[in-house]
């Protein structure tokens, strides 16, 4: 702050409070809706304060779900989402840190080409190659499996670049010392590089977990059996009712459950989250 202007500060507070309210509004409305019974929506508008059905609605969704929409219990879909998010996050970190290690600490023919192959994935988001990628996964027999949900998404140029950057800033003396002490490349990797990149891995994990949990198009395509539905992709199937109104109180309970894990991760690991966000965009 440059000078003391109480009026301006008050205005800034007002803007921020308005911003917080606007940002929180949809979630508040969803939460309130999820605490009411089915008849509370008949009157025309959604109530603005929580009702008495919180425990009942959430227990019902977690345990049995909305069977009329053909979706499994929400608890099960959350488990699927968790498996997918963890596989994607850990898979991306594992294969990227190995690639970055190879690219930074070795000189070999076609190194540049390998680097470019990885770089190109940045330019090919799943949305632009939907149909052929689906055909490949179907051809490999990976539809309706956790492998099909996660493996096609774990190639990562951004994660590789991040680790490359981290390794490039590490002093050369580390390798020299390791070699004098007789350590081979894998021992150096395991005992020196891995421990030194721990915070970067944690920050990246936060970002990638959110990325994995929030996947929509891919799970929608590769899961036709309800056993593998993820919560984010399943929620639309609940809101889509052919005749009549969706059971809004239950759909909104699912929406709240779908955002709970990633939002909790952002709030409780805010420092790592911001670090990961800024680093992956370098």
């Amino acid at each position: 702050m440059i000078e003391n202007r109480p009026g301006l500060s008050a205005l800034a507070h007002l803007v921020l409070i308005l911003g917080v309210v606007v940002v929180a509004l949809p979630v508040w409305v969803a939460f309130v809706a999820s605490t009411h019974g089915p008849t509370d929506f008949m009157s025309g508008t959604v109530p603005m304060w929580p009702g008495p059905h919180l425990v009942e609605n959430y227990a019902k969704m977690l345990d049995t779900g909305l069977s009329t929409s053909g979706t499994p219990p929400v608890g099960w879909m959350m488990f699927n989402s968790l498996v997918m998010a963890l596989s994607i996050a850990l898979g991306k970190i594992a294969i990227s840190i190995l690639s970055a290690f190879a690219i930074v600490y070795f000189r070999f023919p076609l190194r540049g080409l390998a680097f470019w192959c990885i770089f190109v994935t940045l330019m090919l988001p799943v949305e632009v190659r939907i149909v052929p990628t689906f055909q490949v996964v179907a051809g490999l027999g990976l539809l309706n499996s956790y492998a099909g949900l996660s493996i096609p998404l774990i190639a990562s140029a951004t994660a590789t670049f991040l680790f490359r950057q981290v390794f490039l800033t590490m002093p050369d003396e580390l390798v020299e010392a390791a070699r004098i002490d007789g350590a081979g490349p894998m021992k150096f990797f395991r005992d020196i590089l891995l421990p030194l990149s721990r915070t970067n891995m944690a920050a990246l994990f936060v970002i990638l977990f959110i990325y994995g949990w929030n996947q929509y198009l891919w799970p929608l395509l590769v899961t036709t059996s309800s056993d593998y539905y993820t919560i984010v992709a399943g929620i639309k199937r609940m809101a889509d009712v052919v005749d009549g109104l969706p059971q809004w109180h239950l759909v909104m309970a699912t929406a709240v459950l779908a955002m709970l894990p990633p939002v909790a991760v952002v709030i409780f690991m805010q420092k790592l989250f911001v670090k990961g966000l800024v680093e992956t965009e370098k």
């Binding site: 507070h13 409305v29 990227s96 000189r107 390998a114 490949v136 709030i267 805010q270 966000l277």
Partner: protein, 292 residues
Amino acid sequence: MKRTIFSNQLLPWLLLAPQLAITFIFFLWPAGQAIKQSFLREDAFGINSSFVGLANFTALLDSPEYLNSLKVTAVFAISVTVVSMGVALLLAVAVDRMLKSSRTYTTLLVWPYAVAPAVAGILWWFIFNPTVGVMPYVLEVIGYDWNHISSKTDAMILVVIASAWKQISYNFLFFVAGLQAIPASMREAAAIDGAGPVRRFFDITFPLLSPTTFFLLVVNIVYSMFETFAVIDATTEGGPAQATNIMVYKVYFDGFIGQNLGSSAAQSVILMLIVISLTVIQFRWVEKKVEY
């Protein structure tokens, strides 16, 4: 570049193998297939396909539906970018004035980043729902009859709000970081010279923020063109009357539901060219930042 390296020749390939295998099988090969497919046309039964040159592309450019989709994408991407960046900049400038409370406000503003685009779509779909929603009720009071199921404009506004809402927190974090990187001495000097807060913002803060703004511009355009697929699918499904049928949604719809593989592949190729150019712009920018 490292001065000291290991001399193994086989090991680096083993280390790269998983990444390269996935890249090849799930990225490069399908992309190649899309390019190949875009020059072919399948018969009605999908058994034979023949080489048709650029016919799929010329057919697209002659199709009013595709031209409409281009226009819709442009309107949508620009609106989402302007709304989310505008709101985020306003909030970031406000937070930048705060000393003690900035951390609290930041926490309260960043969490929508974690909400899935599909869930964001469902939330706003519910709020604006013509029968049970809160907003149509409020809008009716001021005399506006909201209905995104029949009105093209309302549908567009809905998907723009849902997509922009989710992106505000991301832009906000980067703007805050950008503002903190501006030396306080510059603004102090301007203040001593008698420039008021508004003048200081436009003459000093905003120009010095331009690297962040350019970066966010590219990121937001990419976001609104590709990642918003889920917002569209969870809410309007491209309707009403194609009013929100953005390009990524059309690729999916024509390829999976319409089963028109040649046309869908040609659309994929056009989208690839767009992503490639946006990525090149982004990386050129990273190399020589816009600075004063």
